[in-house]
């Protein structure tokens, strides 16, 4: 898989990383800005999300409407999201319009109007999101699971509460913006039909004079973890289980990732077979890994009707514990083919590659090429994964359930 990755760090710390994909007609981009909710004041959670909404309401010479209309006329499909560490502004665009779209985004990151007369509208948008999550039971469960599995502030949800969002004033948004929208921890990743030397110069002309101030280090608390039930009169009981794993940059990451693949990497994976296919306990069941820079976890989900929820939780936890006994050669072989296929197919999508190289740069400050990833995966052996699992058996489960009835904690789980 021939592949070139370019990167450049400007003097103000901004990182540009790019992958040319000349066979495509598009270019995709992803700005990772350190505007995550971990930097929200403890009594005002939701500022990061609110700020992300406000910066998109006009910037530079464009008012809110002009901003949206110009992006649409350029054919940019774009979106923004906030997690605990970053705000992500990304999208894809016909390649010939990339520079214009980057220029608009540069205005948004550096010269947003943060219009006071739209503060209440933006607050209402944040309230809509809070109510939306209340109705989305699976999402609500997973946000609570993450909040308990990780210490505050990195475990928190970006949405905040009616109360905390209700308190946010215009000056809090401006202050937050001044403090955290900054070049030195910002990554701009671009993949698609691009000309690297021109792109590097152009991004430099837009952003190299963006100034920065020191960022205060975050203080972390201790994770709550344990067992928690949220009562809700629903047809299904939603079950979330998390346990600690190793982060993306850790030397053992791919051993852990291999184990998750065996649990949930396809239709023959253990959770799908044991929970759904052999017992018919649920429609949706999965496990996936979630990584921050310095910590990580595996999260598992199953949704099932109340009367079968206890059995589902018991089988799910039993499968997690059984992982410590090791995986088989067949399981690993299937996993390798899946990963190899996925890596090759990523080359059909500029969006996939832009988000992959952005994530790599965030975690590693470099990008693993597809060949390098292929080699890492090929080098995985049953022994290497089983040694990892024997030394790091899944345990100390954080369990959150949501539904009509609280469930018994499965035996062997403290």
């Amino acid at each position: 898989m021939p592949q070139t990755i370019f990167s450049h760090r400007y003097e103000n710390g901004l990182a540009l990383v790019a992958e040319p994909m000349d066979w495509l007609e598009s270019a995709a981009f992803s700005f990772l800005v350190p505007g995550g909710c971990s930097r929200d004041p403890a009594d005002m959670i939701g500022v990061a999300n609110f700020t992300c909404e406000m910066v998109q309401r006009g910037c530079g010479s464009r008012d809110s409407r002009q901003y949206v209309e110009d992006l649409e006329n350029l054919g940019a499909s774009h979106g923004a999201s906030v997690n605990s560490v970053n705000a992500n502004f990304g999208g894809a665009v016909p390649a010939e319009n990339l520079y214009d779209v980057l220029s608009i985004h540069s205005d948004m990151l550096r010269r947003p109007h943060l219009p006071e007369d739209q503060l209440e509208d933006a607050r209402q948008v944040c309230f809509q999101e809070i109510r939306g999550v209340e109705d989305d039971l699976a999402q609500r469960l997973m946000l609570e699971l993450r909040r308990r599995q990780y210490p505050d502030p990195v475990g928190r949800s970006a949405y905040g509460t009616y109360d905390s969002v209700g308190k946010i004033k215009s000056q809090h948004i401006s202050q937050y913006f001044e403090d955290v929208y900054r070049p030195d921890e910002t990554i701009l990743a671009i993949a698609g039909k691009i000309d690297w030397p021109k792109l590097k110069d152009y991004v430099g002309s837009l952003l190299c004079d963006w100034q920065t101030n020191p960022l205060q280090p975050l203080e972390s608390s201790v994770a709550v973890r344990g067992r928690h039930h949220i009562h809700h009169d629903s047809n299904q009981t939603h079950i979330g289980v998390a346990f600690t794993s190793v982060p993306y940059g850790h030397p053992d990451y791919f051993q852990a990732r291999g184990a998750v693949g065996v649990l949930s990497g396809g239709m023959s994976s253990r959770l799908f077979m044991e929970v759904r296919e052999n017992r018919g306990l649920c429609y949706t069941v999965y496990a996936s890994d979630h990584s921050l820079r310095d910590q990580a976890c595996i999260v598992c989900y199953a949704g099932t009707t109340t009367e079968r929820a206890q059995e589902t939780l018991d089988v799910l936890v039993a499968e997690l514990k059984r992982l410590a006994d090791g995986i088989t050669e067949d399981e690993l072989n299937r996993l390798k083919v899946q990963v190899r296929s996925a890596l090759i197919m990523e080359q059909e999508s500029s969006r996939s590659r832009a988000s992959s190289i952005a994530a790599d740069w965030y975690f590693l400050e470099r990008v693993r090429t597809l060949d390098e990833l292929n080699k890492i995966v090929n080098d995985l052996t049953v022994d290497s994964i089983n040694t990892y699992l024997a030394n790091n058996p899944p345990g100390d489960f954080c369990i959150v359930t949501l539904g009509e009835k609280e469930l018994e904690t499965p035996s062997g789980v403290s």
Binding site: L24, E25, S26, S64, V68, E69, E72, N73, L74, G75, S77, A92, V93, P94, D121, R123, Q124, V125, C126, F127, Q128, E129, R131, G132, D135, D136, L137, A138, D233, S234, N235, Q236, G266, M267, S268, S269, F272, M273, E277, N278, R279, G280, L281, C282, Y283, T284, T304, T305, N333, R334, V337, Q338, V339, S341, A342, I344, M345, E348, S349, S350
Partner: protein, 412 residues
């Protein structure tokens, strides 16, 4: 990019959009079988049958099917809608033969009794899941209201009762009616070896026996109604409206999609600026949906219960204003730019072409390149959009609201 088509002697059609430069091969069996082909007694059978296809064949157990799909590293799935069931896999080109053989095999499932009873439980879980998930099946419930006695009023999943009472014999009878090779297409996009595709399909599907399988595709007589379902546990109010629109084979569907983009796209539309940008609604979207013989516009609204009546009035006013005054040139140009980019970006992955190519052939027996689609949008005029508003006024609709409100008045 080359389009190829061939028909086996037993009626099975094979079509492909071949792109030798693609990294992957997408393959799918498209079956003309969906909820509109069912009766009350077997409500949900098309979807249940889709699940059963993965539960084993005379030469494979369910575990074999799952394992072999994973061994090819495929990303595979299936889905059922009102008028089709699709089984698809995306594989590296090397696996084309093996994927075709496996998908062909599961198109003739065993429907074993014990698997049937086990999978019934999974379906009942799926029904429960959607009842819990916003918008709580409101689109399907609204379709039942709008379509009345028309075949498109039927639920795709069926009910706990209909699925619970279903027997393997009933499913077998339905299978024989709908899974005739003349009612099935094999579709491929991406890096496809077409000659080999035909050869392998002939080997594995050529022996399938042919039956008569027809479908009634009358245009629906729209019903106007306004129904409210009380759901105390919901935080938001969800409202679905359905009004008439062009059918799948009608050329004014391009104008319809542009109109929906102008009035109710998720971003930058009239509804966006009036309802979503000021935070009055979580979403307010208008979308066309085409079927064989008939078509509809969906309007989706989600907002705080106390704002619902006012928001419905705002949407009604937007529609009424459009019916009276039409749209502007500038809006049409922007909508064209937006859709153009959306079509181009959305076609990059060869797997993303599988559905446009397959559904286009299934609904219209017509192949369109990405360029054909772009040209069709580019050719739409202001008059075409005005004609849509006249022929299919969006203010005439059926509505269904679900959420904390016990009572809600229709807009005036």
């Amino acid at each position: 990019m080359e389009f190829r088509e061939q028909r086996l002697e037993n009626g099975l059609e094979i079509i492909a959009e071949c792109n030798p430069n693609a990294y992957s091969t997408a393959l799918g069996f498209f079956v003309r079988a969906g909820s509109r082909d069912e009766t009350d007694e077997i409500a949900g059978v098309s979807h249940f049958l889709e699940h059963m296809a993965f539960k084993g064949t005379p030469k494979r157990s369910a575990a074999d099917v799952n394992r072999e799909l994973d061994e090819m590293g495929s990303s595979s799935n299936a889905h059922t809608s009102e008028e089709r069931t699709v089984y698809h896999a995306i594989v590296l080109p090397d696996f084309q033969d093996r994927a075709v053989e496996l998908l062909s095999d599961i198109m003739r499932p065993s429907l074993r009794h014990e698997d049937f009873e086990m999978e019934k439980q999974v379906i009942i879980e799926e029904i429960s899941m959607y009842e819990d998930q916003p918008p709580f099946n409101a689109p399907e419930k609204c379709m039942a209201v709008y379509f009345g006695s028309h075949s498109l009023s039927r639920s795709i999943l069926g009910t706990v009762e209909s699925v619970g009472a279903m027997t393997p014999e009933q499913m077998r009878t339905y299978f024989q009616q709908r899974y005739s090779p003349s009612n099935i297409m094999l579709v491929a996009t991406g890096n496809v070896d077409f000659d080999r595709l035909v050869e392998v399909a002939g080997e594995h599907c050529g022996g399938w026996e042919q039956f008569d399988a027809t479908r009634e595709t009358l245009r629906a007589e729209p019903r106007t109604a306004f129904e409210v379902i009380h759901k105390e546990t919901a935080a938001q109010q969800y409202v679905i409206q359905i009004s008439a629109g062009p059918a799948a084979a009608e050329d004014d569907r391009y104008a319809a999609r542009l109109l929906a983009t102008i009035l109710g796209d998720g971003s930058g539309s009239r509804m966006y600026w009036e309802l979503v940008d000021p935070g009055l609604a979580e979403y307010a979207v208008m979308e066309p949906y085409e079927f064989q013989g008939t078509g509809i516009f969906f309007t989706y609204l989600c907002c705080a219960p106390e704002d619902t009546a006012d928001n419905l009035q705002r949407i009604h006013d937007i529609y009424r204003t459009a019916e009276r005054d039409g749209i502007t040139e500038e809006e049409l140009t922007r909508a064209k730019n937006k859709i153009r980019a959306h079509v181009v970006l959305g076609s990059e992955r060869s797997s993303a072409r599988l559905f446009p190519v397959g559904v286009g052939w299934l609904q219209r027996r017509r192949y369109q390149t990405v360029r054909d689609i772009l040209d069709s949008y580019a050719a739409v005029t202001m008059d075409d959009v005005t004609a849509i508003l006249k022929k299919y006024p969006p203010t005439i609709s059926s509505s269904l609201a679900i959420g904390p409100l016990k009572k809600l008045d229709a807009p005036s």
